[in-house]
Structure formats: structure tokens, C-alpha cells
């Protein structure tokens, strides 16, 4: 399983904090995971297609081409606004 976390405005718009995705032992990359999530419905399609979406695998910022596999924590979130 891949544990997927959503934060801030994205969490509110998807109305979802956490989502578990089975990857059947396959090595995926973030972009293919996003495709699967986008297919859920039109809101997810729209929100997860945003060009400014950021992603972290195991708490490290990564590009959409990064690998992700069973046991990983994948976080998806809008541009950060701390500081």
C-alpha cells in the first residue's frame, strides 16, 4: 500500500486527508499515481492536474517523475505559504 496524504486547500477541496492506494507490488512513479487519483471524479481530476501541485515522497520534495512503491508515504499539497 502507498499512504497518500493531502494538505491545506487541496485537502479541503478533495475533502480527504488520507488515501490508501494498493500498488500490487508494482514500482510506480508519482505521475502514474496522480493519473489513478484523477480518474476518481471531476473534482479530483481538476485539483490533481494543477501545474503548481507539489509532492513529497517519504517527506522529501520530489518531481512527478520520482518512483513510489509499497510502504511509501506520498504527500500532495499546494504551494507552501509559511514563514
Amino acid at each position: 500500500m502507498i499512504k497518500i496524504l493531502f494538505f491545506a486547500a487541496l485537502r479541503e477541496r478533495l475533502n480527504c486527508e488520507q488515501y490508501l492506494l494498493s500498488c500490487d507490488g508494482h514500482l510506480l512513479n508519482v505521475a502514474t499515481v496522480l493519473k489513478q487519483l484523477q480518474s476518481r471524479n471531476s473534482v479530483w481530476q481538476q485539483e490533481l492536474s494543477r501545474a503548481d501541485l507539489l509532492c513529497a515522497v517519504n517527506q522529501q520534495l520530489v518531481p512527478l517523475t520520482a518512483d513510489v512503491q509499497d510502504g511509501d508515504e506520498l504527500a500532495l499539497f499546494p504551494p507552501v505559504t509559511g514563514g
Partner: protein, 149 residues
């Protein structure tokens, strides 16, 4: 070289942080940045909530501090970032640097803030008289980062 990182709900005390920074005998320069909750121009801000990604925030701040340490000769780096609900004029974040020379202290402090603004997983939601709004990321913060790369 010492690095101190904290992500906390509690307020912090700049005076104590300064005392920690100035006790590095080989350091002639201390630079402190403090970020505060700013009033909106129409005075309608009630409060602001800072959400974060627990676990990743501390890692991200440590990584940024270490990058700064590799880039400049620093005696000490202290970063404190608050989360939770904050009122106008509350302290949000503090970055403090001690270094032998001022150029390194200024550069490292600004570098850390520029990275923090773009890479550390914090998000602000403003609670105003007109409703609640997520703060939008600023193009100027992205541009500020570009000059270090």
C-alpha cells in the same frame, strides 16, 4: 557549528534566542529575522491558522539549515516556526545566525527564509471578517529563491 530547529505551537522569545547566538566567541555578527502576522490593509484579519506536515517540517528546516552551513562559515543557526492559530502581530517564525562576518550572517539568514518560504510544508489560512481564505503563494517568493540557484 550548532543547529537548533523547532516547530511549535508556543510563542518563542527572541531575547533568549539572541543570547544563545551571541555566546559564540569567534562570531562577530548576529543576524535575526522575525516574521509577524501582519494586519490586512482593511484591518479585517481576526487570526490566522498555520497548518503543517508534521515530521516533514522539521526535516525540511534541518535540510535548509545544513545547506546554509555548507555554503557559508557559520557559528550557529536557530530556526523556530510556529503552527496553530495566531493573532495579528503574533510571531510566526524566527531565523537567527551567528557568524564571524556580517556578509555570511546576512546571506545565510535570507537564504534560509527564501528556502523556507518555498520548500517548508507550512500553509496559512486567514480568518477575516469576510470569511476564511488560504493564503496564495507569492511569485516574489519564487523569484527570491531563484537567485541562490
Amino acid at each position: 557549528m550548532s543547529i537548533f530547529i523547532a516547530v511549535q505551537r508556543d510563542d518563542f522569545c527572541v531575547a533568549s534566542e539572541y543570547d544563545e547566538l551571541r555566546c559564540h566567541a569567534a562570531c562577530g555578527a548576529v543576524v535575526i529575522f522575525s516574521g509577524l502576522v501582519r494586519e490586512l490593509s482593511n484591518n479585517s484579519l481576526h487570526s490566522m491558522t498555520l497548518e503543517h506536515y508534521p515530521g516533514m517540517t522539521e526535516q525540511a528546516l534541518s535540510a535548509i539549515a545544513e545547506q546554509a552551513q555548507q555554503r557559508w562559515q557559520l557559528g550557529a543557526v536557530r530556526i523556530i516556526h510556529r503552527v496553530g492559530t495566531l493573532k495579528p502581530n503574533a510571531q510566526i517564525v524566527m531565523v537567527g545566525i551567528a557568524s564571524a562576518h556580517r556578509a555570511a550572517a546576512f546571506a545565510a539568514c535570507e537564504y534560509i527564509m527564501d528556502y523556507l518560504k518555498n520548500r517548508a510544508p507550512f500553509w496559512k489560512k486567514e480568518h477575516t471578517a469576510e470569511g476564511d481564505y488560504w493564503v496564495e503563494a507569492k511569485a516574489s517568493d519564487k523569484q527570491a529563491l531563484a537567485r541562490w540557484e
